[in-house]
Symmetry: C2
């Protein structure tokens, strides 16, 4: 009668009362996939910072460590999966989270730890520079990481300007930091990347007027796993949505099943399968959200205009509010009940050929 | 394709990292019913206090007020429903929550506010006595309250010993405190109550060896609503489960639809319908949880023994852990996909006949 237990995830993320970012974008999807989720809140905010006006309390390193210690004493640190993502306030709190990851990894060599190193986007750092070494340190304990291209650059000190530098950056992550699985969720499809991609993966010529992002997954390939890079282009939806990375990471973790039989399609790996599911469902959720935003009154969907936004903050608040993820309405997408296009990542077999 | 929006709930409750009480027992069910839920955490604890070993941080009145103020400034205090339940730490924090309820009620006369006055159980007060007047004060702003029998006694200063005192207590709530809708979730079926219940509602003679609880709903009956008392006996499941009241209250709120057409069955009221749904789904969830607990290894389901528990705290922790609500596994119950027995509350038409 009831759903069977898929497993248990310990999720450490930011919490906002209103809206869907951090834990609010990750916990419900994991629950819909059948996971019991233990939830530690790194902050308790009114809403995400993108609204301009926001606030609340931040958990200190001591508070986080105390909660982890109590959970440990009670025997509650037994989840098979760990998710740390979103905003964790400051290097000390982040270190407390890293120490927990080390402990869980020591307890359980098979721990599946997805680390989303939230550092910034599009060339802008969100976090204090002293958190970067802590993230670099934490990489060694991760099973999967889901940085954006800018975060890859920050973590590896490699600027991604061409295929060679992309290869070098992935190599640094796999070899220097020992990360088995990397998913770079969204690299803008610049000409160098379009040229480098296998022809089969490039957008159709008819879609020349659209912007595209590329999702790339890469498994290091030892300890029984095969070395493999997969990729897929996805069209950009117009405008900015919050919490997308948090949703995507949760779905990658939720769909990653290394112990299962290999996927039916022999070109898939456990990582490419998880990334494909996450990509498909995230894109469907964004489409649902975008379509909803289009139905709102005009004053709730005025286009992004930073100058006007500064003069009239309500303008931005209303726009962002209308673009909050439609997670609750899209539960069927997460549970796989909707017939969405399955965006399968395709093998990029020549990737490592220098 | 996607579920339509049922509405928006602002939920103010305690948060635990591990397990299902407070917000962890209420938010997922409301989301499964289609509500967007804004979640303010009154505390951030490792687990509930019943485990013996627990801790974390409590939100101060100032922190709560600050979050409410920011949400107000951003235009986020627009939910049609308010849920305040579970543990709110201390009279000052509770007052901050009450002030918010007053503000929301002023903004929206149609606000549906479910207040679960968590004060204690079975004759024992959980909270500091100075919170009682704050709860009494808050009653005036509530649409529905869901106390247990002991909380009714504390709020009304009436000891419930017979039908006359039960009537008196409900009268105090409806008239003195102006509460339109009261659901007393579980009154032990003592002989006086069994005798007072209409014959149709009493347990079958064949179930003499079971313990029963009675759920009673009572609507004041003015402003267009009819005065009505409904009741239903439910068999007790053995042992103690945590978070049951929090789940029940969330389901009552989620299923309360006063603006809709009257339910098909003309003996139902919006309140009795909501309470019937909540009772049915809560009982099904408890049954699922109980059945799961029976499958656990013996050391995870040792019977309650307070003396042994004191000597060996792990014993209690393991038992309680095995009895955490199976909410994630029972999502189908909440969404109404399982064919559970619908436990309809029946009209107790003679209740007010002195």
């Amino acid at each position: 009668m009831a759903q069977t237990t898929t497993g248990r995830v310990l999720s450490i993320q930011s919490h906002v009362a209103f809206g869907y970012v951090g834990g609010k974008a990750a916990v419900l999807p994991l629950q819909c996939l059948g996971y019991d989720v233990d939830v530690v809140n790194s902050v308790n905010f009114s809403n995400h910072s993108g609204y301009g006006r926001f606030g609340g309390s931040r958990a200190t390193a001591e508070e986080l460590s105390k909660i982890f210690e109590l959970m440990d004493q009670n025997g509650f640190l037994s989840s098979e999966r760990l998710l740390t993502a979103g905003y964790i306030p400051g290097a000390e709190a982040l270190s407390a989270v890293k120490d927990l990851a080390v402990k869980l990894r020591q307890k359980n060599a098979d721990l599946i730890y997805l680390l989303d190193p939230v550092l910034g986007d599009s060339g802008r750092l969100y976090v204090a520079p002293d958190t970067i070494p802590v993230y670099r340190d934490a990489l060694r304990y991760a099973t999967i990481i889901t940085p954006n291209w800018f975060e890859v650059e920050v973590l590896t000190d490699v600027r991604i300007l061409d295929l060679a530098s992309l290869r070098r950056a992935l190599q640094v992550l796999h070899e220097q930091y020992n990360v088995p699985n990397v998913v770079i969720s969204s690299i803008p499809l610049r000409p160098w990347l379009a040229d480098a991609l296998p022809v089969l993966m490039r957008p159709h010529a008819s879609s020349n007027d659209l912007d595209f992002l590329v999702c790339i997954s890469s498994s290091r390939g030892n300890e029984g796993a095969q070395r493999a890079v997969h990729a897929r282009c996805i069209p950009c939806l117009p405008g900015y949505f919050s919490g997308v990375g948090d949703l995507f990471s949760a779905l990658v973790l939720g769909h990653f099943k290394p112990a299962h039989a290999p996927p039916q399609d022999r070109t898939e790996t456990p990582l490419s399968y998880a990334a494909s599911q996450a990509l498909s469902k995230t894109h469907a959720m964004l489409t649902l959200t975008h379509e909803h935003a289009l139905t709102l009154p005009e004053e709730d969907r005025l286009p992004t205009d930073e100058e006007l936004d500064v003069r009239e903050p309500e303008r931005k608040i209303r726009r962002m509010r209308g673009r909050e993820l439609r997670l609750v309405q899209g539960q069927g997408i997460i549970r796989g009940e909707e017939t969405n296009e399955y965006r399968q990542m395709l093998p990029w077999t020549t990737f490592w050929d220098a």
